[in-house]
Amino acid sequence: MNEFNQGAPLRGILPENPLFRLALGVVPTLAVATTLINGAAIGIAVAFTLLCSNIVIALLRNVLPAKAHVLCWLIVICAFASVAQMLLQAFFHDPYQDLGIYVPLITLNCVILARAQMAEEEHGVFTSAGRSLVMGVLFALVAACVGALRELLDSGTLLGAQVFGKGFEPMLLLKLAPGGFLLTGILAGIANYFMTRSKKNDKNAQKGGAA
Protein backbone atom coordinates (compact mmCIF):
# COMPACT_ATOMS: atom_id res chain seq x y z
CA MET A 1 0.00 0.00 0.00
CA ASN A 2 3.04 2.23 0.27
CA GLU A 3 2.84 3.34 -3.31
CA PHE A 4 -0.48 4.95 -2.62
CA ASN A 5 1.17 7.48 -0.39
CA GLN A 6 3.77 8.24 -2.99
CA GLY A 7 1.36 9.55 -5.55
CA ALA A 8 0.97 6.32 -7.53
CA PRO A 9 -2.66 7.09 -8.43
CA LEU A 10 -1.66 10.44 -9.89
CA ARG A 11 1.17 8.89 -11.83
CA GLY A 12 -1.48 6.91 -13.67
CA ILE A 13 -2.80 9.93 -15.48
CA LEU A 14 0.00 10.11 -17.98
CA PRO A 15 2.91 7.67 -17.74
CA GLU A 16 0.79 4.63 -16.94
CA ASN A 17 -2.42 5.78 -18.56
CA PRO A 18 -4.13 2.45 -19.10
CA LEU A 19 -5.87 3.52 -22.29
CA PHE A 20 -2.89 4.77 -24.19
CA ARG A 21 -0.10 2.68 -22.75
CA LEU A 22 -1.70 -0.71 -23.03
CA ALA A 23 -2.37 -0.15 -26.66
CA LEU A 24 -4.92 -2.85 -27.27
CA GLY A 25 -7.38 -1.72 -24.64
CA VAL A 26 -8.52 1.00 -27.00
CA VAL A 27 -10.67 -1.11 -29.27
CA PRO A 28 -14.00 -1.19 -27.38
CA THR A 29 -13.58 2.41 -26.29
CA LEU A 30 -13.02 3.56 -29.84
CA ALA A 31 -16.07 1.81 -31.10
CA VAL A 32 -18.77 3.03 -28.79
CA ALA A 33 -17.52 6.23 -27.18
CA THR A 34 -19.41 8.43 -29.65
CA THR A 35 -21.14 10.59 -27.03
CA LEU A 36 -20.36 11.61 -23.48
CA ILE A 37 -23.06 9.28 -22.11
CA ASN A 38 -21.92 6.26 -24.10
CA GLY A 39 -18.26 6.90 -23.31
CA ALA A 40 -19.03 7.18 -19.61
CA ALA A 41 -21.24 4.06 -19.72
CA ILE A 42 -18.61 1.86 -21.38
CA GLY A 43 -15.93 3.34 -19.10
CA ILE A 44 -17.93 2.57 -15.96
CA ALA A 45 -18.72 -0.92 -17.28
CA VAL A 46 -14.98 -1.50 -17.77
CA ALA A 47 -14.20 -0.15 -14.29
CA PHE A 48 -16.86 -2.37 -12.70
CA THR A 49 -15.64 -5.48 -14.53
CA LEU A 50 -12.03 -4.66 -13.74
CA LEU A 51 -12.63 -4.19 -10.01
CA CYS A 52 -14.86 -7.23 -9.47
CA SER A 53 -12.85 -9.63 -11.60
CA ASN A 54 -9.64 -8.48 -9.95
CA ILE A 55 -10.93 -9.18 -6.46
CA VAL A 56 -12.05 -12.68 -7.48
CA ILE A 57 -8.81 -13.44 -9.32
CA ALA A 58 -6.74 -12.21 -6.39
CA LEU A 59 -8.75 -14.47 -4.07
CA LEU A 60 -8.35 -17.46 -6.38
CA ARG A 61 -4.70 -16.96 -7.19
CA ASN A 62 -3.51 -19.99 -5.21
CA VAL A 63 -6.28 -22.25 -6.50
CA LEU A 64 -6.18 -21.73 -10.25
CA PRO A 65 -4.34 -24.44 -12.23
CA ALA A 66 -1.13 -23.03 -13.69
CA LYS A 67 -1.75 -24.51 -17.14
CA ALA A 68 -5.16 -22.98 -17.73
CA HIS A 69 -5.04 -19.82 -15.68
CA VAL A 70 -5.56 -17.44 -18.60
CA LEU A 71 -8.71 -19.28 -19.56
CA CYS A 72 -9.90 -19.12 -15.94
CA TRP A 73 -9.29 -15.37 -15.87
CA LEU A 74 -11.24 -14.98 -19.09
CA ILE A 75 -14.20 -16.86 -17.63
CA VAL A 76 -14.22 -14.76 -14.45
CA ILE A 77 -13.91 -11.52 -16.44
CA CYS A 78 -16.59 -12.60 -18.91
CA ALA A 79 -18.97 -13.40 -16.05
CA PHE A 80 -18.64 -9.87 -14.65
CA ALA A 81 -18.89 -8.32 -18.12
CA SER A 82 -22.19 -10.17 -18.53
CA VAL A 83 -23.32 -8.84 -15.15
CA ALA A 84 -22.40 -5.33 -16.31
CA GLN A 85 -24.44 -5.85 -19.47
CA MET A 86 -27.47 -7.03 -17.49
CA LEU A 87 -27.22 -4.05 -15.13
CA LEU A 88 -27.10 -1.71 -18.13
CA GLN A 89 -30.08 -3.44 -19.68
CA ALA A 90 -32.08 -3.12 -16.48
CA PHE A 91 -31.28 0.45 -15.51
CA PHE A 92 -29.85 2.31 -18.53
CA HIS A 93 -31.63 0.97 -21.55
CA ASP A 94 -30.50 3.57 -24.10
CA PRO A 95 -26.75 3.10 -23.57
CA TYR A 96 -27.40 -0.67 -23.49
CA GLN A 97 -28.86 -0.48 -27.01
CA ASP A 98 -25.99 1.65 -28.27
CA LEU A 99 -23.20 -0.36 -26.65
CA GLY A 100 -24.55 -3.73 -27.80
CA ILE A 101 -21.93 -6.43 -28.19
CA TYR A 102 -19.14 -4.19 -26.97
CA VAL A 103 -20.07 -4.75 -23.31
CA PRO A 104 -19.43 -8.54 -23.34
CA LEU A 105 -16.37 -7.79 -25.49
CA ILE A 106 -14.89 -5.98 -22.46
CA THR A 107 -13.73 -9.50 -21.57
CA LEU A 108 -10.94 -9.24 -24.10
CA ASN A 109 -9.85 -5.76 -23.06
CA CYS A 110 -6.11 -6.04 -22.57
CA VAL A 111 -6.13 -3.56 -19.71
CA ILE A 112 -8.19 -6.01 -17.68
CA LEU A 113 -6.11 -9.00 -18.74
CA ALA A 114 -2.91 -7.21 -17.80
CA ARG A 115 -4.44 -6.31 -14.43
CA ALA A 116 -5.41 -9.97 -13.92
CA GLN A 117 -1.78 -10.93 -14.49
CA MET A 118 -0.70 -8.39 -11.87
CA ALA A 119 -3.36 -9.58 -9.40
CA GLU A 120 -1.89 -13.05 -9.62
CA GLU A 121 1.59 -11.77 -8.85
CA GLU A 122 0.67 -9.33 -6.09
CA HIS A 123 0.07 -10.26 -2.50
CA GLY A 124 -3.21 -9.33 -0.95
CA VAL A 125 -6.71 -8.73 -2.16
CA PHE A 126 -6.86 -5.17 -0.88
CA THR A 127 -3.78 -4.05 -2.81
CA SER A 128 -5.20 -5.48 -6.02
CA ALA A 129 -8.63 -4.03 -5.40
CA GLY A 130 -7.24 -0.55 -4.69
CA ARG A 131 -5.01 -0.51 -7.72
CA SER A 132 -7.65 -1.83 -10.08
CA LEU A 133 -10.13 0.73 -8.77
CA VAL A 134 -7.71 3.54 -9.62
CA MET A 135 -7.02 2.05 -13.03
CA GLY A 136 -10.71 1.58 -13.76
CA VAL A 137 -11.63 5.13 -12.76
CA LEU A 138 -8.88 6.50 -14.99
CA PHE A 139 -10.07 4.37 -17.88
CA ALA A 140 -13.62 5.60 -17.36
CA LEU A 141 -12.43 9.22 -17.29
CA VAL A 142 -10.50 8.83 -20.54
CA ALA A 143 -13.38 7.03 -22.25
CA ALA A 144 -15.80 9.76 -21.15
CA CYS A 145 -13.41 12.46 -22.43
CA VAL A 146 -13.06 10.76 -25.82
CA GLY A 147 -16.84 10.44 -25.98
CA ALA A 148 -17.37 14.07 -25.00
CA LEU A 149 -14.86 15.27 -27.59
CA ARG A 150 -16.51 13.23 -30.35
CA GLU A 151 -19.99 14.41 -29.37
CA LEU A 152 -18.87 18.01 -29.21
CA LEU A 153 -17.16 18.00 -32.62
CA ASP A 154 -19.70 15.78 -34.32
CA SER A 155 -22.91 17.54 -33.38
CA GLY A 156 -21.87 20.55 -31.31
CA THR A 157 -23.74 19.26 -28.28
CA LEU A 158 -22.81 17.94 -24.87
CA LEU A 159 -25.25 15.64 -23.03
CA GLY A 160 -27.72 16.68 -25.73
CA ALA A 161 -27.49 20.40 -24.94
CA GLN A 162 -26.35 22.78 -27.68
CA VAL A 163 -22.86 24.16 -26.98
CA PHE A 164 -21.84 25.93 -30.17
CA GLY A 165 -23.86 28.55 -32.02
CA LYS A 166 -25.88 28.07 -35.18
CA GLY A 167 -22.87 28.67 -37.43
CA PHE A 168 -21.27 25.39 -36.31
CA GLU A 169 -20.70 22.87 -39.10
CA PRO A 170 -21.02 19.35 -37.65
CA MET A 171 -18.09 17.03 -38.41
CA LEU A 172 -20.00 13.85 -39.19
CA LEU A 173 -16.68 12.11 -39.76
CA LEU A 174 -15.99 11.95 -36.04
CA LYS A 175 -19.14 9.98 -35.36
CA LEU A 176 -18.14 7.39 -37.94
CA ALA A 177 -15.40 4.81 -37.61
CA PRO A 178 -12.52 6.80 -39.21
CA GLY A 179 -13.06 9.64 -36.74
CA GLY A 180 -12.71 7.23 -33.84
CA PHE A 181 -9.42 5.90 -35.17
CA LEU A 182 -8.01 9.30 -36.08
CA LEU A 183 -9.01 11.01 -32.84
CA THR A 184 -7.62 8.23 -30.64
CA GLY A 185 -4.42 8.11 -32.71
CA ILE A 186 -3.90 11.85 -32.34
CA LEU A 187 -4.70 11.79 -28.60
CA ALA A 188 -2.27 8.89 -28.11
CA GLY A 189 0.36 10.92 -29.97
CA ILE A 190 -0.23 13.95 -27.76
CA ALA A 191 -0.04 11.78 -24.61
CA ASN A 192 3.23 10.28 -25.91
CA TYR A 193 4.65 13.74 -26.57
CA PHE A 194 4.02 14.94 -23.01
CA MET A 195 5.24 11.67 -21.55
CA THR A 196 8.60 11.72 -23.33
CA ARG A 197 9.00 15.37 -22.40
CA SER A 198 8.36 14.73 -18.70
CA LYS A 199 10.81 11.81 -18.83
CA LYS A 200 13.48 14.08 -20.32
CA ASN A 201 12.83 16.63 -17.59
CA ASP A 202 13.24 13.90 -14.98
CA LYS A 203 16.57 12.89 -16.46
CA ASN A 204 17.80 16.48 -16.60
CA ALA A 205 16.75 17.01 -13.00
CA GLN A 206 18.65 13.89 -11.94
CA LYS A 207 21.76 15.06 -13.80
CA GLY A 208 21.50 18.44 -12.16
CA GLY A 209 21.15 16.79 -8.76
CA ALA A 210 24.22 14.60 -9.35
CA ALA A 211 26.37 17.56 -10.40
Partner: protein, 196 residues
Protein backbone atom coordinates in the same frame (compact mmCIF):
# COMPACT_ATOMS: atom_id res chain seq x y z
CA UNK B 1 -32.62 -8.90 -43.60
CA UNK B 2 -31.82 -11.71 -41.18
CA UNK B 3 -31.48 -14.51 -43.69
CA UNK B 4 -30.05 -15.21 -47.12
CA UNK B 5 -32.26 -16.72 -49.78
CA UNK B 6 -30.33 -16.56 -53.05
CA UNK B 7 -26.83 -16.81 -54.43
CA UNK B 8 -26.99 -13.16 -55.43
CA UNK B 9 -27.88 -12.29 -51.88
CA UNK B 10 -24.88 -14.25 -50.63
CA UNK B 11 -22.52 -12.43 -53.01
CA UNK B 12 -23.95 -9.09 -51.95
CA UNK B 13 -23.44 -10.11 -48.33
CA UNK B 14 -19.82 -11.01 -49.13
CA UNK B 15 -19.27 -7.49 -50.48
CA UNK B 16 -20.97 -6.07 -47.41
CA UNK B 17 -18.78 -8.01 -44.96
CA UNK B 18 -15.52 -7.30 -46.75
CA UNK B 19 -16.05 -3.68 -47.76
CA UNK B 20 -19.05 -1.81 -46.39
CA UNK B 21 -18.98 -3.24 -42.89
CA UNK B 22 -15.46 -4.56 -42.60
CA UNK B 23 -15.04 -5.98 -39.09
CA UNK B 24 -11.76 -4.14 -38.48
CA UNK B 25 -12.36 -0.78 -40.16
CA UNK B 26 -16.02 -0.18 -39.41
CA UNK B 27 -16.79 -2.36 -36.40
CA UNK B 28 -13.49 -1.89 -34.55
CA UNK B 29 -13.20 -5.62 -33.99
CA UNK B 30 -9.81 -7.23 -33.98
CA UNK B 31 -6.55 -6.22 -32.39
CA UNK B 32 -4.24 -8.67 -34.16
CA UNK B 33 -3.98 -6.51 -37.31
CA UNK B 34 -2.33 -3.76 -35.24
CA UNK B 35 -0.19 -5.94 -33.03
CA UNK B 36 0.21 -9.08 -35.09
CA UNK B 37 3.12 -10.53 -37.05
CA UNK B 38 4.96 -7.99 -39.16
CA UNK B 39 5.00 -8.87 -42.84
CA UNK B 40 2.26 -9.27 -45.41
CA UNK B 41 2.75 -13.04 -45.90
CA UNK B 42 2.42 -13.83 -42.22
CA UNK B 43 -0.60 -11.56 -41.89
CA UNK B 44 -2.31 -13.39 -44.76
CA UNK B 45 -1.65 -16.67 -42.94
CA UNK B 46 -2.99 -15.20 -39.71
CA UNK B 47 -6.07 -14.12 -41.66
CA UNK B 48 -6.52 -17.67 -42.93
CA UNK B 49 -6.41 -19.06 -39.38
CA UNK B 50 -8.82 -16.39 -38.14
CA UNK B 51 -11.21 -17.07 -41.04
CA UNK B 52 -11.31 -20.79 -40.25
CA UNK B 53 -11.73 -20.14 -36.53
CA UNK B 54 -14.53 -17.61 -37.14
CA UNK B 55 -16.42 -19.87 -39.53
CA UNK B 56 -16.18 -22.84 -37.18
CA UNK B 57 -17.18 -20.92 -34.08
CA UNK B 58 -20.10 -19.20 -35.86
CA UNK B 59 -21.24 -22.64 -37.03
CA UNK B 60 -21.09 -24.07 -33.50
CA UNK B 61 -22.31 -20.96 -31.69
CA UNK B 62 -25.69 -21.00 -33.43
CA UNK B 63 -26.94 -24.32 -31.94
CA UNK B 64 -25.44 -23.36 -28.57
CA UNK B 65 -27.37 -20.10 -28.62
CA UNK B 66 -30.61 -21.88 -29.59
CA UNK B 67 -30.16 -24.33 -26.72
CA UNK B 68 -29.43 -21.58 -24.20
CA UNK B 69 -32.41 -19.57 -25.46
CA UNK B 70 -34.65 -22.63 -25.01
CA UNK B 71 -33.49 -22.95 -21.40
CA UNK B 72 -33.81 -19.15 -20.95
CA UNK B 73 -30.13 -18.93 -20.12
CA UNK B 74 -29.42 -16.25 -22.72
CA UNK B 75 -27.16 -14.40 -20.31
CA UNK B 76 -24.65 -17.25 -20.56
CA UNK B 77 -24.14 -16.61 -24.29
CA UNK B 78 -20.91 -14.67 -23.93
CA UNK B 79 -19.24 -17.18 -21.58
CA UNK B 80 -20.27 -20.15 -23.72
CA UNK B 81 -19.05 -18.46 -26.91
CA UNK B 82 -15.77 -17.66 -25.20
CA UNK B 83 -15.23 -21.31 -24.20
CA UNK B 84 -16.31 -22.38 -27.68
CA UNK B 85 -13.79 -20.02 -29.27
CA UNK B 86 -11.06 -21.35 -26.97
CA UNK B 87 -11.93 -24.91 -27.99
CA UNK B 88 -12.02 -24.09 -31.69
CA UNK B 89 -8.65 -22.30 -31.50
CA UNK B 90 -7.12 -25.27 -29.63
CA UNK B 91 -8.45 -27.69 -32.26
CA UNK B 92 -7.19 -25.64 -35.19
CA UNK B 93 -3.84 -25.34 -33.48
CA UNK B 94 -3.58 -29.12 -33.20
CA UNK B 95 -4.67 -29.51 -36.83
CA UNK B 96 -2.05 -27.07 -38.13
CA UNK B 97 0.60 -28.69 -35.93
CA UNK B 98 -0.05 -32.12 -37.39
CA UNK B 99 -0.44 -30.95 -41.01
CA UNK B 100 2.59 -28.69 -41.25
CA UNK B 101 4.95 -28.65 -38.24
CA UNK B 102 7.24 -26.11 -39.94
CA UNK B 103 4.41 -23.67 -40.58
CA UNK B 104 3.23 -24.17 -37.01
CA UNK B 105 6.66 -23.34 -35.58
CA UNK B 106 6.83 -20.10 -37.58
CA UNK B 107 3.50 -18.84 -36.23
CA UNK B 108 3.35 -20.34 -32.74
CA UNK B 109 2.74 -17.05 -30.94
CA UNK B 110 -0.21 -16.15 -33.16
CA UNK B 111 -2.64 -18.57 -31.52
CA UNK B 112 -2.95 -16.72 -28.22
CA UNK B 113 -3.37 -13.54 -30.23
CA UNK B 114 -6.25 -15.11 -32.17
CA UNK B 115 -7.99 -16.27 -28.98
CA UNK B 116 -7.86 -12.90 -27.25
CA UNK B 117 -8.70 -11.08 -30.47
CA UNK B 118 -12.07 -9.43 -30.17
CA UNK B 119 -12.96 -10.26 -33.80
CA UNK B 120 -13.48 -13.96 -33.08
CA UNK B 121 -15.80 -13.50 -30.09
CA UNK B 122 -17.25 -10.33 -31.61
CA UNK B 123 -18.59 -12.00 -34.75
CA UNK B 124 -20.37 -14.75 -32.80
CA UNK B 125 -21.92 -12.17 -30.46
CA UNK B 126 -22.92 -10.01 -33.41
CA UNK B 127 -24.72 -12.93 -35.09
CA UNK B 128 -26.88 -13.31 -32.00
CA UNK B 129 -27.36 -9.56 -31.49
CA UNK B 130 -28.55 -9.13 -35.10
CA UNK B 131 -30.67 -12.32 -34.91
CA UNK B 132 -29.20 -13.96 -38.00
CA UNK B 133 -30.45 -17.37 -39.06
CA UNK B 134 -28.10 -20.36 -39.28
CA UNK B 135 -26.88 -19.87 -42.86
CA UNK B 136 -26.31 -16.16 -42.43
CA UNK B 137 -24.40 -16.75 -39.18
CA UNK B 138 -22.01 -19.19 -40.85
CA UNK B 139 -21.55 -16.87 -43.83
CA UNK B 140 -21.03 -13.94 -41.47
CA UNK B 141 -18.16 -15.92 -39.89
CA UNK B 142 -16.64 -16.85 -43.24
CA UNK B 143 -17.00 -13.44 -44.91
CA UNK B 144 -16.11 -11.58 -41.74
CA UNK B 145 -12.89 -13.61 -41.67
CA UNK B 146 -12.16 -12.60 -45.26
CA UNK B 147 -12.74 -8.96 -44.36
CA UNK B 148 -10.42 -9.40 -41.40
CA UNK B 149 -7.76 -10.93 -43.68
CA UNK B 150 -7.98 -7.99 -46.08
CA UNK B 151 -7.60 -5.57 -43.17
CA UNK B 152 -4.65 -7.47 -41.68
CA UNK B 153 -2.85 -7.57 -45.03
CA UNK B 154 -3.49 -3.88 -45.74
CA UNK B 155 -2.29 -2.82 -42.30
CA UNK B 156 0.78 -5.07 -42.53
CA UNK B 157 1.65 -3.39 -45.85
CA UNK B 158 1.29 0.03 -44.27
CA UNK B 159 3.42 -1.04 -41.30
CA UNK B 160 6.18 -2.29 -43.64
CA UNK B 161 6.30 1.14 -45.27
CA UNK B 162 6.16 2.94 -41.92
CA UNK B 163 9.18 1.00 -40.66
CA UNK B 164 11.43 2.77 -43.16
CA UNK B 165 9.87 6.23 -43.15
CA UNK B 166 10.54 9.22 -40.95
CA UNK B 167 7.84 9.66 -38.33
CA UNK B 168 7.70 12.23 -35.50
CA UNK B 169 8.98 10.48 -32.36
CA UNK B 170 5.78 10.86 -30.39
CA UNK B 171 3.67 9.32 -33.15
CA UNK B 172 5.78 6.15 -33.41
CA UNK B 173 4.11 2.85 -32.62
CA UNK B 174 0.44 2.82 -31.77
CA UNK B 175 -0.56 6.41 -32.70
CA UNK B 176 0.64 6.22 -36.31
CA UNK B 177 -0.91 2.76 -36.71
CA UNK B 178 -4.26 4.06 -35.50
CA UNK B 179 -4.04 7.09 -37.78
CA UNK B 180 -3.22 4.85 -40.76
CA UNK B 181 -6.14 2.61 -39.86
CA UNK B 182 -8.31 5.73 -39.71
CA UNK B 183 -7.22 6.77 -43.21
CA UNK B 184 -7.86 3.30 -44.65
CA UNK B 185 -11.22 3.32 -42.90
CA UNK B 186 -11.92 6.69 -44.51
CA UNK B 187 -11.24 5.14 -47.90
CA UNK B 188 -13.61 2.30 -47.03
CA UNK B 189 -16.33 4.89 -46.40
CA UNK B 190 -16.46 5.22 -50.17
CA UNK B 191 -18.17 1.83 -50.28
CA UNK B 192 -20.91 2.99 -47.93
CA UNK B 193 -24.41 2.20 -49.09
CA UNK B 194 -23.31 -0.14 -51.90
CA UNK B 195 -24.31 -3.34 -50.11
CA UNK B 196 -26.04 -4.25 -46.90
Amino acid sequence: MNGITSLGGALLYLAACVFTSNPVFTRFLGTAPYAGPGDVGKSAKLGLYVTSAMTLSSLLAWPVHQLLAQLSLGYLDAICFLLLAAGVVALLRLAVKSISPAGYAAMEGAWTLILVDSALLGVTLLNVWAQYDFLKSVLSGLFGGLGFTLAAVLLAGVRERLATSKIPASLKGLPITLISAGLISLAFLGFMGMAK
